[in-house]
C-alpha cells in the first residue's frame, strides 16, 4: 500500500531536524538558481518582442532588408497606400521607430541617455495600450510625448507635466504608459508623427523624410483570413517589402535573438549547471540517509521485504525532498523577480509553464539521485551490515 510507505520516507527524512532543514535549503537554492537563469533567458526574448505584441495589426509590412528590429530599415510610405487599395485590407497605419539618434535628458541630473522613440498618427489606433489611445488627442499638440513608466531610473522624473529635452529640443510629457525595456533600449517614448519628423529630421538615406516608415501595420477586413490577404498583398506589391502575419513577424524576431546572440547560450549554461548542482546535492542527501539507516533497511530485507519496497521508500524520500525544497525555492525566486523588475524594467514573469517545468526538473533531479542512492541499499547483504 503506497500510503503506508509515505510515513516511513517522511520519518527517515525528518529524523534529524537540522539536517532536514539544511537539505531543503540546498535544494531550494539550486531551484532558485534555475528559476533565475531561465527567468533571464525568457526576459531576453520576451522583452525584445514586447513592443511587437502591443501593435494593433493583423499583418506587418516591413522592408525586405529589415531582418530584426535591432536594425533600422525603412520602407517607402507609398507602399502603405498601395496596400490600402488591395481587397481584404481594411486599413494601413505607419509606425516610425528610432533608437539610435534620440537622446533624453534627465530633468534632474541633466545627463543625456539614448532612448527609443515611436512615432504614429494619433488618429490611427496603432497601439493596443489603452493609456496611449486615451491620450492620443493631446499628442497632437506640438512638442509633446508620452513616456514609458518602466523606463530605467536613469531617465529621471517622468510624471505628467515634466518638461525636459529630447535630442536638445524642448519636450513636455503629457502622460505615461507601461511597456517595458529590452536589452537594446532602456526606455520608450511615444509621440505624433508630425512631432517625430520635427524632432528627428535628418534622413539616413535618399528620399524625403516621410518615407522613413519603419513598419506598416495592416488590418484586414472582417471575415477575411490573414494568410489569404497576405498572399494577395505579396503578389500586388513590389518585392522590396515583406508581408507577414503579426505572429510570423514576432517569430522572426525571436529567431534572430535566439540565433545571433550569446546571451541565450550563457543563461542556458547557467541553468544547466544549476541542474547538475541540484542532482549532486540531492544524491548526497539521499545517499547519506540510506547509509545511516542501512541497519534498518537490512533488517527489513532480512524480514522479507523485497528490494522493490526499499527502492520505493528511497524514491518517496526523493519526491518529498523535491516538493518541499521546491516551494521555498519558488517563493525566493518570486521575490527576486520582483526586485529585478523594479531595477531593470525587464519583463520578468513567473508563468505557470515555467513553474511546471522547474517542478518537473526538480523531481527529475531528485529521482535520478534517488535511484542512484537506492542502489547502495539493494546491494547490501543483510548479514554483512550487522557484522
Amino acid at each position: 500500500m503506497p500510503w503506508s510507505r509515505v510515513p516511513l520516507a517522511w520519518l527517515i527524512l525528518t529524523h534529524q531536524k537540522r539536517r532536514f532543514v539544511l537539505s531543503l535549503a540546498g535544494i531550494a537554492f539550486a531551484v532558485v538558481l534555475m528559476y533565475m537563469e531561465l527567468g533571464f533567458l525568457s526576459a531576453l526574448y520576451d522583452s525584445q518582442v514586447a513592443l511587437l505584441q502591443q501593435l494593433n495589426a493583423d499583418l506587418i509590412m516591413s522592408s525586405k532588408a529589415k531582418y530584426t528590429m535591432a536594425i533600422n530599415e525603412a520602407l517607402p510610405r507609398g507602399r502603405l497606400y498601395q496596400a490600402r487599395a488591395v481587397a481584404g485590407v481594411a486599413d494601413a497605419y505607419p509606425l516610425y521607430v528610432d533608437f539610435e539618434q534620440p537622446s533624453w535628458r534627465n530633468p534632474g541630473t541633466r545627463g543625456s541617455r539614448p532612448i527609443r522613440v515611436l512615432g504614429f498618427n494619433p488618429a490611427d489606433p496603432v497601439f493596443l495600450i489603452p493609456e496611449i489611445q486615451a491620450r492620443a488627442e493631446q499628442l497632437r499638440q506640438p512638442d509633446t510625448a508620452l513616456i514609458d513608466r518602466e523606463s530605467q531610473e536613469t531617465y529621471g522624473r517622468r510624471e505628467q507635466g515634466t518638461v525636459t529635452e529630447l535630442s536638445r529640443r524642448r519636450l513636455r510629457v503629457v502622460g505615461t504608459f507601461s511597456l517595458g525595456t529590452d536589452f537594446i533600449s532602456h526606455g520608450n517614448v511615444v509621440m505624433s508623427d508630425k512631432n517625430f519628423l520635427k524632432f528627428f529630421p535628418s534622413s539616413r538615406g535618399p528620399g524625403p523624410n516621410l518615407s522613413r516608415v519603419e513598419l506598416g501595420l495592416l488590418k484586414i477586413a472582417p471575415g477575411t483570413h490573414p494568410g489569404t490577404v497576405a498572399g494577395v498583398l505579396r503578389t500586388a506589391l513590389p518585392p522590396d517589402v515583406h508581408i507577414q502575419t503579426k505572429q510570423e513577424f514576432i517569430d522572426q524576431e525571436l529567431k534572430f535573438w535566439h540565433d545571433n546572440t550569446p546571451l541565450g547560450y550563457m543563461f542556458g549554461l547557467g541553468a544547466a549547471l544549476g541542474f547538475v548542482v541540484g542532482i549532486v546535492i540531492c544524491y548526497q542527501i539521499l545517499y547519506t540517509d540510506v547509509v545511516d539507516h542501512l541497519p534498518q533497511f537490512a533488517t527489513l530485507k532480512a524480514i522479507g521485504y523485497r528490494d522493490r519496497f526499499v527502492r520505493r521508500v528511497v524514491l518517496h524520500e526523493a519526491l518529498l525532498l523535491s516538493f518541499l525544497g521546491h516551494v521555498p525555492g519558488l517563493g525566493m525566486s518570486y521575490l527576486l523577480y520582483g526586485m529585478l523588475v523594479r531595477a531593470t524594467g525587464l519583463p520578468l514573469h513567473l508563468p505557470p509553464e515555467r513553474v511546471l517545468l522547474l517542478l518537473g526538473l526538480t523531481i527529475a533531479m531528485c529521482t535520478v539521485s534517488g535511484i542512484l542512492a537506492a542502489r547502495r541499499v539493494i546491494t547490501a547483504d543483510p548479514a554483512e551490515v550487522f557484522a
Binding site: 539536517r19 530599415e73 539614448p114 525595456t181 547538475v276 548542482v277
Partner: protein
C-alpha cells in the same frame, strides 16, 4: 597524526566523499562561470581603450561609452597642448554605421573609429605599419574578431559602410566590445566621408599624452582648471571606473550578470555549508570517542579543519578544470573574451577555504559543549 586521521576519515567512505567533492566542485565551477561572464562584459568595454595610447582622456560631458561619446570642439585639444606637462593632444573619432554584408546584402551595426594617420594613436603594430595605406580614400581596416555574420572581411572585399562604398585593405585585432559585433578603423578624412561629411572639428575623444615622469592626477587637475566645462578630463583609472559603472548599473546585461554572480556565490555558500555539515556530523561519534579518550578540543579542531581543507582542495582542482573548459566553450561559441586570471582563481580558492573553515568550526562548537556520552546515543 592529525593529517593521517583526516585523510583516513575521508578515504574510508569513498562514495560519500566523492559526492561531497563533486557537489563542492560544481558549485565552485558555477561561481567561476558567473564571474567570468560578468568580467567579460566589463572587459569588453575596456578592450579598445587598452589599445589606445593616452595618459589622460578628454571627453564630452555626455560620454556614456565608446559608442555614445558626445563631442567637443577641436579647439580644446589645442588649449590642452598649450600646458607644459602635455606632450601631445590628439583627436579621435568614433561612431556607429551600417555595414552591408557583401554576400547576403544585410545591414549590421559596425563601430567605426577614425584618427589622423600622422599620429601614433593605437598600440597596434599592424595599424602603425599601415598608416599610409589608411590614407587612401574609402579604405578600412577590419577587426578580425568581427563576427562571421558580417560576411567576407578579407583584404580586397568591396562593400558599403553607410552611404559609401569602401574597400577592406587589411585587418587588426582588438575585440569589438559587448555593444557591437564588428569594428573598423579608418583615417579621419575617411571617417568624415563615412559620416556624411561631418566636421572634424567635432572631436569625440581627445587622447592626451603627458611628458615622461609627469603625474597624471596632477595634470588632470591642471587641465580641468584650464579648460571650460564643455569637456571632462579623465585619468585611465577614472575612465575604467566610469565604463564599469555604466555597464554594471545601467545596462540590463551588466545588472543581470552581476546578479548571477551574487546568486552563484550564495548558492555555493549554502551548499558548501550543507555538504560539509552533513559530513562532519557523520563523524561526531568518532570525535566524541576521541574526546572521551582524552584528546583536547584543539586537536579535534585541527582534524576537522584539515578534513574540510582536503575536501575543498580536492574539489577546487577539477572545478578549475571545468571552468577552463567552459570558458573555452564560451569564447568559441559566443565570441566573448572570457578568460581565467590568477586573481580570480586565487580569490575563489580563498573564499572557498574561508567558507569551509567557517563551516567546520561552527560544527565543532556543538561538539565542544557536548557530553561525550550523549553523542553516542543518536
Amino acid at each position: 597524526m592529525k593529517l593521517l586521521l583526516a585523510w583516513l576519515s575521508l578515504a574510508h567512505h569513498k562514495t560519500r566523499t566523492l559526492a561531497a567533492v563533486a557537489g563542492i566542485a560544481f558549485c565552485i565551477s558555477l561561481v567561476f562561470l558567473q564571474l567570468g561572464l560578468y568580467a567579460s562584459v566589463m572587459r569588453s568595454a575596456l578592450q579598445i581603450h587598452e589599445k589606445l595610447d593616452y595618459d589622460l582622456l578628454l571627453v564630452s560631458p555626455d560620454y556614456l561609452n565608446l559608442a555614445r561619446t558626445g563631442w567637443f570642439p577641436r579647439q580644446r585639444l589645442q588649449q590642452a597642448a598649450a600646458l607644459p606637462g602635455v606632450a601631445s593632444a590628439l583627436p579621435f573619432y568614433t561612431g556607429a554605421r551600417q555595414w552591408r554584408n557583401p554576400e547576403t546584402r544585410r545591414h549590421l551595426r559596425l563601430l567605426v573609429m577614425g584618427f589622423n594617420t600622422r599620429d601614433h594613436v593605437f598600440n597596434l603594430p599592424e595599424i602603425d605599419a599601415a598608416r599610409q595605406e589608411l590614407e587612401r580614400p574609402d579604405v578600412v581596416f577590419i577587426d578580425r574578431r568581427t563576427r562571421p555574420e558580417f560576411g567576407s572581411q578579407a583584404r580586397g572585399t568591396v562593400t558599403e559602410i553607410g552611404p559609401r562604398q569602401v574597400t577592406v585593405a587589411g585587418q587588426y585585432t582588438i575585440g569589438t566590445g559587448f555593444d557591437f559585433y564588428g569594428a573598423a578603423i579608418v583615417s579621419d578624412v575617411n571617417f568624415s566621408r563615412l559620416f556624411e561629411g561631418i566636421s572634424l572639428d567635432k572631436v569625440n575623444l581627445g587622447l592626451i599624452r603627458l611628458n615622461r615622469d609627469a603625474d597624471p592626477e596632477a595634470w588632470a587637475e591642471a587641465l580641468r582648471r584650464a579648460l571650460p566645462a564643455d569637456v571632462r578630463v579623465l585619468t585611465r583609472a577614472q575612465l575604467t571606473a566610469l565604463e564599469q559603472q555604466y555597464w554594471a548599473q545601467e545596462t540590463p546585461a551588466g545588472m543581470v550578470f552581476g546578479l548571477g554572480v551574487v546568486l552563484a556565490v550564495v548558492v555555493g555558500v549554502v551548499i558548501l555549508y550543507q555538504v560539509l555539515t552533513t559530513d562532519i556530523t557523520k563523524h561526531l561519534p568518532e570525535y566524541a570517542t576521541l574526546k572521551a579518550l582524552g584528546y583536547r578540543d584543539r586537536f579535534l579542531r585541527y582534524v576537522v579543519l584539515l578534513k574540510v581543507l582536503f575536501l575543498v582542495l580536492l574539489a577546487y582542482l577539477p572545478a578549475l578544470g571545468l571552468a577552463l573548459v567552459l570558458y573555452a566553450l564560451i569564447r568559441e561559441a559566443a565570441n566573448l573574451p572570457v578568460d581565467m586570471n590568477v586573481e580570480r582563481a586565487g580569490a575563489v580558492l580563498a573564499l572557498s577555504v574561508l567558507m569551509a573553515s567557517g563551516t567546520g568550526l561552527s560544527c565543532l562548537r556543538r561538539l565542544r559543549s557536548a557530553d561525550p556520552a550523549d553523542l553516542f546515543g543518536r
